[in-house]
């Protein structure tokens, strides 16, 4: 049993696809020249980077490749968008709007800015994790310089009405950034159609390499740099270009975009199969996030009377890799801020499980997951004093 590995944690990170790694390999050992140098091998790398930029621009519907800036992670892209806007536009105002369910890359950045004298408004979400664009409308003040609301949530998968929020921001002349780290590769992204000013993506969520990311900055939008130094990325993001990383990022995004419909259908049907199995066979379960407006591969459920880490460990013993709330915070003692934000009581939030499906998962794996969960939840409930109280009617 131990040998079998079934990976249901694609929202945390994905493997690098063989085609993507293959595209990267030549740039490690062969075409390694500095892309900023004048000689021919340097210029080859410059071309590789610019081709990658065009590919990425096309994949997200950007008007111009020059609107694409490569970064070292999704977190860096989020930090850059928010701090860069804050610094550049602080004379206009120091008010920033975000939501209560953002990723720590956004929330911790906002908290940092708060300590620097900025004022942050956190828009609450409803029980399914949705932000209401009207709430954004009402929260905007004359000194608001930025709205940052994620496109899709990493824990509960809820997809926000980004286009509507962008329209609200546009009406008020306020810049709008969206963290599309979970959305990229899973649902269509068209920055022009969405009307966003900035959009962050991270490579390792769609079978690209870790340590790569991108910030889309609409032409004409000015923000301060986050990483100062050399003239790379049109003077906006310094540091010798990670050519293999950039090539891999673009290749992965290109493949994901070409394959988006089939990918969506496949993940959706696996997710629905798991959902059906769990709800039919295990009592006292609750679905977290929106029933329809959610990422195709995301399933987040709470099992009453049991605790998430125990579920994870028992799944792991059966070879199943999943996540409780957010992978980043596992090991912490507080339940996920996202689950609390959608109104879950602490004890139920503690018993939540995130399953995120990927390209190589099969129906058979999903069935094995459901069988395993039936057994594990039963075992843990029989060990649980909360379940004892429930059964005894305390």
């Amino acid at each position: 049993m131990q040998e079998r590995v079934i990976y249901f944690d694609h929202a945390a990170t994905t493997y690098v696809k063989p085609e993507v790694l293959e595209a990267m390999i030549p740039y490690f050992t062969q075409n390694f020249g500095n892309a900023s140098s004048i000689y021919s091998i340097g210029r080859q790398n410059r071309n590789a980077i610019e081709d990658a930029r065009s590919t990425v621009a096309k994949s997200i519907g950007a008007q111009n490749p020059s609107e694409i800036y490569f970064t070292g992670s999704g977190t860096e892209a989020d930090n850059w968008a928010i701090k860069g806007t804050a610094l550049y536009h602080q004379k206009k105002g120091k008010h920033i709007i975000t939501s209560t369910i953002e990723h720590p890359a956004v929330l911790a950045t906002c908290e940092f800015l708060q300590k620097q004298g900025f004022v942050i408004t956190y828009i609450p979400v409803d029980n399914e994790g949705l932000v209401n664009p009207d709430d954004v409308d009402k929260a905007i003040r004359p000194d608001t310089i930025l709205v940052t609301i994620m496109m899709a949530n990493n824990e509960i998968g809820t997809i926000q009405p980004i286009k509507e929020i962008a329209q609200v921001c546009k009406k008020h002349g306020v810049l709008f950034h969206t963290d599309a780290v979970q959305a990229a590769g899973n649902i269509p992204i068209n920055v022009q159609d969405l009307g966003v000013d900035m959009l962050s993506v991270s490579g390792h969520k769609f079978y690209g390499p870790k340590g790569t990311g991108m910030l889309y900055i609409r032409k004409g939008v000015r923000i301060e740099n986050l990483i100062h130094g050399g003239h790379q990325e049109r003077n906006r993001r310094a540091g010798t270009e990670n050519v293999p990383g950039i090539v891999g990022f673009a290749k992965a995004l290109e493949l994901a975009t070409l394959n988006l419909d089939a990918h969506y259908q496949k993940l959706y049907s696996l997710r629905e199969r798991a959902l059906k199995g769990i709800f039919e066979r295990i009592p006292h379960v609750r679905l977290n996030g929106h029933r329809e407006k959610r990422l195709p591969g995301n399933l987040n459920v709470s099992f009453e009377f049991v605790e998430g880490e125990s579920i994870l460990l028992m799944l792991d013993m059966k070879g199943i890799k999943a996540s409780s709330g957010s992978a980043c915070t596992s090991g912490s003692l507080d339940p996920s801020h996202v689950l609390l934000a959608i109104g879950l009581p602490h004890e139920i939030a503690h018993g939540s499980l995130r399953l995120s499906f990927g390209e190589q998962n099969t129906e058979e794996e999903v069935d094995y997951l459901v069988d395993s969960l039936v057994e594990i939840i039963d075992k843990l409930r029989r060990m649980s004093p909360l379940y004892e109280d429930y059964v005894k009617g305390v």
Partner: protein, 154 residues
């Protein structure tokens, strides 16, 4: 590996899970809000703990420390059981990650709570050491929670 083999053994095959119908002392510590509840049942004869059982809602370490704690106190006198610290539970499990040290504290407290219950039922002297401690991390400050190791930098 985050947990030692001993911890994983006690997590996957916990000893003494269950209830004791006619327990002489029952103690429950922790709370659901913090993600850990331990309930301990003791059967005590002639000052000796002849049986111990537990139910636990919590993480792997919570289950393993409950399991180990019940093993450690079985056959011991009340005095001996009282002297079993969270450190002893941890050591018997070949250690715990810093963020999980509080589970061993909870186990120590669960024993104490069950013994307190026993004494109350039998009109014996009270030990109020653990009063009001919900086991929630950062609460009472009376134990080596070990969090400094993890969170030295903020």
């Amino acid at each position: 590996m985050m947990y030692s083999e001993k911890v994983m053994d006690h997590f996957s095959n916990p000893r003494n899970v269950g209830e004791i119908e006619d327990a002489d002392g029952v103690g429950q510590v922790g709370n659901a809000k913090c993600g850990d509840i331990m309930k301990m049942y003791l059967k005590i004869e002639d000052g000796i703990i002849v049986d111990a059982k537990f139910k636990t809602f919590g993480c792997g370490a919570a289950v393993a420390t409950s399991s180990m704690a019940t093993e450690l106190i079985k056959g011991k006198t009340i005095k001996e059981a009282e002297q079993i610290t969270n450190k002893a539970v941890m050591e018997a499990l070949d250690g715990l990650p810093p963020a999980k040290v509080h589970c061993s504290v909870l186990a120590e407290e669960a024993i104490a709570a069950a013994l307190k219950d026993y004494r109350e039922r039998h009109g014996l002297v009270e030990d109020s050491r653990y009063e009001g401690c919900a086991g929630c991390c950062g609460g009472c400050g009376a134990h080596d929670h070990g969090h400094d190791l993890e969170n030295e930098e903020d």
